[in-house]
């Protein structure tokens, strides 16, 4: 409370001294305001679902619109499964690519290849979905001898392709930020390039790389359109649960598919906002953690430990 009071009077003083600063401040705080409004309105619309089902809204395993039964667990599981698959594919590829570009590739190629991979990041998700549906799903079906290629694996592959540029971009930046000094120190001691990468570059950049993976994860779990087009959309936990060749129904796909059908104010409508709430909270936590990792790291660098 004391903080706010001081803030308020300070604010008013500033308003008189330099009115421009107040406008600037309002712009800067718009992010907080909108984040808060988002939480408020999505919670308001989703409240009915949480009130009706309680904890079963999250752990209930039946999502059946006809019965007005909404247990989101299969959807949450579907999202996690698809994203986990994507992480397994994208992280090794992305991180090694970032290291290769920053440390091994001749200078003249670096910018070109980095720009190409960055361009991949800007391709709209609906294009990825379109290509996934048209070209990747049939290949997956053929390769594994399954009837339909719209399964969790396909969604994971499409998501992985979409996440790689994020991971390459962010970890590339982190690796480029490893001070020249560190590398010189190792090289001058007679370390080979690979030894330098292994024992200086990677350890120094590792928490930044971890943060980039988490950012990629946060992006991936919120991805909607591409996943909807290739995930198969069955609201069931696969049997066995690790069967990547069965269709799943991720959270985001459920919202996009059913929002058009749900009458405003109905329990279904509320349940869809409830899903939005779950997504909001999960990505909020992931992003905050990623930030915390980056900040802790910069403190260690400055010697505070």
């Amino acid at each position: 409370m004391g903080f706010r009071k001081r803030g308020m009077s300070h604010f008013l003083k500033r308003l008189k001294a330099e009115p421009v600063e107040v406008i600037l401040f309002l712009c800067a705080s718009s992010s907080i305001i909108f984040l808060f409004l988002m939480l408020l309105f999505i919670a308001k619309e989703g409240a009915q679902a949480f009130l009706t089902f309680g904890i079963n809204f999250i752990i209930g395993s039946v999502w059946e619109t006809n019965l007005d039964l909404y247990g989101a667990f299969p959807l949450i599981y579907g999202s996690l499964m698809v994203v986990a698959g994507a992480v397994v594919i994208a992280v090794p590829l992305g991180v090694v690519t970032a290291i290769f570009i920053a440390e091994v590739l001749p200078f003249s190629f670096r910018d070109l290849i980095k720009s190409l991979i960055e361009l991949l990041a800007s391709v709209p998700s609906i294009i990825y979905g379109f290509v996934g549906l048209l070209f990747i799903a049939p290949q997956v079906a053929r390769l594994f001898g399954i009837s339909s290629g719209t399964v969790a694996l396909t969604a994971s592959i499409v998501l992985a392709i979409m996440s790689i540029p994020t991971i390459v971009g962010v970890s590339g930046e982190v690796i480029a930020a490893v001070p020249r000094d560190f590398k010189d120190a190792a090289l001058a001691l007679g370390a080979t390039k690979w030894q330098t990468i292994k024992s200086v570059v990677i350890p120094t950049a590792k928490s930044g790389i971890l943060a980039s993976i988490m950012l990629g994860f946060g992006r991936a779990i919120g991805e909607t359109v591409a996943v909807l087009m290739v995930a198969g959309n069955v609201a069931l936990i696969p049997t066995p649960p690790w069967n990547y060749l069965s269709p799943v129904y991720p959270l985001t796909a459920t919202i996009a598919m059913q929002m058009g059908e749900a009458a405003v104010g109905s329990l279904e409508y509320s349940a869809l906002f409830g899903l939005g709430m779950i997504l909001f909270i999960v990505t909020f936590i992931v992003n905050t953690l990623a930030d915390a990792i980056v900040k802790r790291e910069s403190k260690f660098r400055s010697g505070v430990k």
């Binding site: 290769f100 390039k193 909607t224």
Partner: protein, 276 residues
Amino acid sequence: MSKVREKVLFAFLGIPTAICLGVFFWLASVLLSGFGTIKWNLLTASVLNGGYLEMIVGSAYLLLGAAGIASPVGVLAAIYLVEYAPRGRLTRVIDQAINNLAGVPSIVIGLFGYTFFCRQLGLGISLAAGWFTLSLMMIPIVIRGTEEAVRMVPNAFKEAALALGASKWRTVRSITAPSAAPGIITSILLGIARVAGETAAILFTSCVLVTRGLPKSPFEPVMALAFNLFVKIVALGESPDKVFGIAFILFLMVISLAAAATAFRIYYRRRQPWLK
């Protein structure tokens, strides 16, 4: 000899990079393969005659409006954060909020846009609702890009102005902002590129399948490439060859925006010696 072993090792490390590039070229070739099937006259033909013109211009309307909202807010916010913000709890919270806003999934932004802009503010399914919703996705990008650009302006420039007795805001206006302008423009372009292909956020907020012409006011709905592509594939189940044209144009539009942003950045980095 260890040099040889290292070469072999690096060759292996190069495989993932090759895969990533392979994916890029594959994607490009897949989309380019549809190039021949596109009837170019459809680009300038009305939707009423089976063309895409209103969708293309409609998408541009959405993007320009969103940029019109996000650019001033984002740029001013970034200037505040770099030049004015006191070091303290509030500033840290703002900083964190920007990161978190950037991380909100677009479908959640879309849900919020629908319940807040369309219903609460009564904008209905309209261009304006789409502008506000998309601008929420652009603001963090513009802020981060502008912050970086403003930080890169050498202190010596600012001190020179301040030493001459210029006020802080005056210095920002006449020294900092112009010096950072290329970086700011790049960040706005990147923001536009980022939302240009966005589907989930406009799904419930601003688009329709067909109407006549373009909206005559911000309170009318609009046709857009991404939305029409989505509805045509997912809801109407039109065959892929029928929608290839829309997919290709959308791809081309977004890629050229992103490439323009990158080219712009590289060009100005070269011209501004203090950016190393």
